[in-house]
């Protein structure tokens, strides 16, 4: 029996877009008690397929132009607005990627769940409240009474997503659509949420349409998999078929691009340290205020007594979840943030405490690469100038800097024409290449990369990692690589430092940390990586 049948679905894009259809000739089936994963990179049309099922396409420019979506024999494409409102939230419900923005910030969780009941069934106030409390209990939220009264900002990311799930399951829907529900969460939270979705789906016999870009998650959760590229379905099959024996070249390429969890063999390295970080401490204070009227001061120890050593030519990974202080360490090293105490020794010189002018000669030795390729390049400056600015400030003659910028563009694999263009004309991966070129323009000894690939699609991610590898060899760079993704860390880093709550809980050679983790937190992190049993080779 089929719960959902999508036949020949076409969703059009506004006129003048890159392609005419966001979704083209897609056929999908979903059975009860089944998890169907739709996998694809950004722009593949996977999210719009889900929105089409919900009747939530951004009309009038993006709409279904052809095909049918049938739920239990009822066509949803031609259903009236009123009928679709009935269906949404009761027969089909949805959870989203970012639970912070997906919940109304000025409405309590209890009220937001209550709305679902109020608009779909007639129930007394007390009964609705009891049902909501039971739901919160079902998704294993602690203290449901408190959660009912709480506002979204008072919960953690994982708790918010649990509340979202409770809301989606309020009326026992036949179909649950999950649009990248764990992408914004930390890896340990992700593992818990995936477990919860599986548990709920089994208990309620729900058909789940799970949209994701992460093959690890697919391996953990999917019964069947559909792979999309440029709006078309390229391959469907059982999870086992698609993951272990992909037939379509695109699927094969995607799976090949997923970094393996097996650390690569360590490289020979020198013992000579380039950068030593000694008892670094950074505390953030907020609140307080003049004359002591400001009320309670909040103190956060972002970096708590961190000692690290970066050897010449190696890549040191700092891994940890959000809030662990890994980015603050990076910012202290490049002196974007002033540490409270501790020493940052670059080839023996302590950088911490140097003034602006004293710091300038050392700036070129340490360069940084940022996570978000869209926000980290000035949109009003041409690419060539972005790359040249550093050397020009350091006193390099303009013609020399220009020649160097052009050379760097070719090194990072960009066309020479890129020199006169603006950042918005490039894709995310290309912008990250520009970011690399900018960092390299000053011939740094040390490159600090803060989550350089986490905003990128998996195939682009593989290319950027490969490029970083080549450059590291060619320029004998030492690199500090900050990431939350243990798969990436396994493929890039020679040594690892695991951070939690501002402290380093474990350091060691990557292979050793993966094989025999010492700290319990490291074990927890490793256990939470999705898709471990798949492709362990």
């Amino acid at each position: 029996m089929r719960l959902l049948e999508i036949r020949n679905l076409h969703v059009c894009l506004p006129e003048g877009s890159e392609r005419a259809h966001a979704v083209e000739a897609v056929d999908l089936d979903l059975a009860p008690n089944e998890i169907l994963c739709i996998v694809g990179e950004s722009g593949s049309g996977k999210s719009l397929t889900a929105r089409a099922v919900m009747g939530l396409l951004p009309k009038p420019h993006v709409r279904v132009v052809d095909g049918t979506i049938e739920m239990d024999g009822e066509d949803l494409v031609s259903a009236s607005d009123a009928r679709m409102r009935d269906i949404r939230g009761s027969a089909i419900s949805m959870i989203f990627q970012e639970p912070m923005t997906a919940l109304n910030p000025v409405m309590s969780i209890g009220d937001q769940i209550d709305e679902v009941f109020r608009f779909h069934v007639s129930m007394g106030r007390r009964e609705r409240r009891e049902r909501a409390l039971a739901l919160l209990e079902d998704v294993h939220l602690p203290d449901p009474e408190y959660i009912m009264r709480a506002y979204p900002h008072e919960l953690s990311g994982g708790q918010r997503q649990r509340a979202m799930i409770a809301m989606a399951l309020a009326l026992d829907p036949k179909i649950l659509i999950a649009d990248e529900p764990t992408t914004a969460l930390d890896v340990t939270t992700q593992a818990q949420i995936l477990k919860l979705i599986k548990e709920m789906q089994a208990a309620h016999n729900t058909g789940v349409l799970f949209i994701t870009h992460d093959f690890g998650v697919v391996a953990d959760i999917a019964d069947r998999v559909a792979v999309m590229q440029f709006g078309k379905l390229v391959e469907t099959g059982t999870a086992d078929e698609v993951l272990n024996n992909p037939r379509h070249p695109y699927t094969q390429a995607l799976i090949a691009a997923v970094p393996s969890l097996t650390p690569r063999p360590p490289r020979g390295q020198s013992a000579q340290p380039v950068l030593q970080i000694d008892s670094l401490i950074k505390t953030f204070r907020s609140g307080g205020g003049i004359l002591g009227f400001g009320g309670g001061e909040r103190i956060v120890k972002a970096v708590d007594d961190v000692t690290l050593e970066l050897r010449r030519g190696e890549t040191l990974g700092i891994v940890g979840e959000s809030g662990s202080g890994k980015s603050t360490v990076a910012r202290c090293i490049v002196r974007l943030v002033d540490a409270d105490s501790g020493r940052i020794l670059l080839n023996g010189t302590d950088l911490n405490g140097l003034g602006r002018a004293e710091m300038r000669p050392f700036r070129s030795s340490i360069q940084m690469m940022f996570q978000d390729p869209f926000a980290s390049l000035n949109p009003r400056t041409r690419v060539g100038k972005i790359i040249m600015q550093g050397p020009l400030l350091q006193g390099v003659p303009a013609t020399e800097a220009q020649a160097k910028a052009r050379e760097l563009l070719s090194i990072v694999g960009l066309d020479d024409r890129a020199y006169d263009r603006f950042p918005h004309e490039f894709s995310g991966g290309q912008r990250q290449r520009i970011g690399i070129a900018r960092a390299l323009a000053l011939d740094p000894d040390v490159l600090v990369a803060d989550e350089p690939v986490s905003a990128l699609d998996v195939s682009i991610q593989a290319q950027i990692l490969k490029l970083l590898d080549e450059i590291r060899e060619r320029m004998s760079l030492s690199m500090i690589f900050i990431t939350h993704d243990l798969r990436v860390a396994a493929q890039v880093c020679d040594r690892l430092a695991v951070m939690r709550n501002g402290e380093i809980v474990e350091t060691g050679a990557t292979a050793e940390v993966f094989k025999d983790p010492q700290a319990s937190y490291t074990k927890e992190l490793l256990a939470a990586v999705p898709g471990q049993n798949w492709r362990s080779a």
């Binding site: 919900m54 989203f96 997906a102 919940l103 109304n104 910030p105 409405m107 709305e115 679902v116 809301m167």
Partner: protein, 328 residues
């Protein structure tokens, strides 16, 4: 601690914090006013026509104007603490009585203007945003643009010409019809009748501003993720607009309104003179030309306290609208 006790503590704390601010305002104003050439004695002597230098020196001594400035300031501060704002020689009355007398009309005009501007602005913005690009939206946007661009004094004069002189619906000026000796409800009704034209005139500009702000804010919020969630829950468009979007969209409007209350006192000078409304703005204007420093300082002090109070009220409304803002 309960929410009410928390709020109360917050209010007390904010009032305490306001003290140094008000003190600073007094000191700055004091020196600013004394930087201007001439004093009350010059004006008095000029009007009398035949004052000798000896007589002027005597007057200065009598008013305490011969003392060095810091001494004058200290004397003034000491008096303010005992609620003695000095004496206006121009009006021959204690400043406190004079200012309090004019304070009520100003407050009346201000409060009615704010309520009208914010209330109608929010409704118009809401109507425009819900009927985006329809004739309703166009009409409201054009209205907002026109009122935004029209000078206040001209609107006031036209209102008098049309509604007071030609149609005779409203009185031309003043706050009440003193000659009628109204009492009780009749008097309130009379004042309300007088209040209509000045309030509309003063609020038009702000109304246009809040309409545009509200429209933009509604449209911005309508594109947020939580709106998609609300749709995915199967709520009606009505519920989404009026419950989910509206409350979030109100936040910037409230912020803006709080900031502009101060400007409203300044803007009211024009309206008060056009409609002969006996408010603080008019008084300030007159006393500026008479070099009546004591009276001016009194008006500034009261205005400063008013702005501090309004900011506090806005912050409390804000914390009530937005749970992310905590009062502590």
């Amino acid at each position: 601690m309960s929410q009410t006790a928390k709020r109360l503590r917050y209010v007390l704390k904010r009032l305490l914090q306001a003290l140094p601010i008000i003190l600073a305002i007094i000191i700055v104003n004091f020196f600013l006013l004394h930087m201007a050439e001439g004093d009350a004695v010059d004006v008095l002597a000029g009007e009398a026509g035949s004052a000798t230098p000896e007589y002027m020196a005597e007057l200065r001594k009598k008013f305490g104007l011969d003392q060095p400035l810091p001494v004058q300031l200290l004397v003034y501060l000491k008096n303010v603490i005992t609620l003695d704002l000095g004496y206006s020689f121009r009006h021959d009355m204690p400043v406190l009585d004079l200012v309090l007398d004019r304070f009520v009309p100003t407050l009346l005009l201000m409060v009615s203007t704010i309520i009208l501007a914010v209330g109608v602005g929010i409704i118009l913005g809401l109507l425009a945003a819900t009927g985006l690009n329809s004739w309703r939206d166009t009409l409201i946007s054009v209205f907002a643009l026109v009122t935004y661009a029209t000078p206040l004094f001209w609107v006031g004069l036209m209102f008098i010409v049309v509604f007071a002189l030609n149609l005779g619906w409203f009185p031309t000026s003043g706050m009440e019809n003193i000659a009628m000796f109204y009492e009780g409800w009749d008097r309130y009704w009379d004042i309300a009748h007088h209040l209509v034209l000045p309030t509309i005139t003063l609020s038009l500009f702000y109304l246009a501003l809040y309409t545009r702000l509200m429209r933009a804010s509604m449209l911005e919020q309508a594109g947020m993720d939580y709106v998609t969630t609300a749709r995915a829950k199967g709520l009606t468009e009505r519920r989404i607009m009026f419950v989910h979007v509206l409350r979030n969209a109100l936040l910037p409007v409230v912020t803006m309104a709080g900031v502009q209350v101060g400007a409203l006192i300044g803007g009211s000078v024009i309206v008060e003179s056009v409609f002969a409304w006996p408010g603080l703005g008019m008084l300030a204007f007159e006393s500026l030309f008479a070099r009546d420093v004591n009276l001016l300082l009194g008006i500034f002090l009261l205005s400063a306290m008013l702005v501090v109070a309004v900011n506090l009220i806005v912050d409390i409304i804000y914390s009530w609208l937005d749970p992310r803002i905590e009062v502590e």
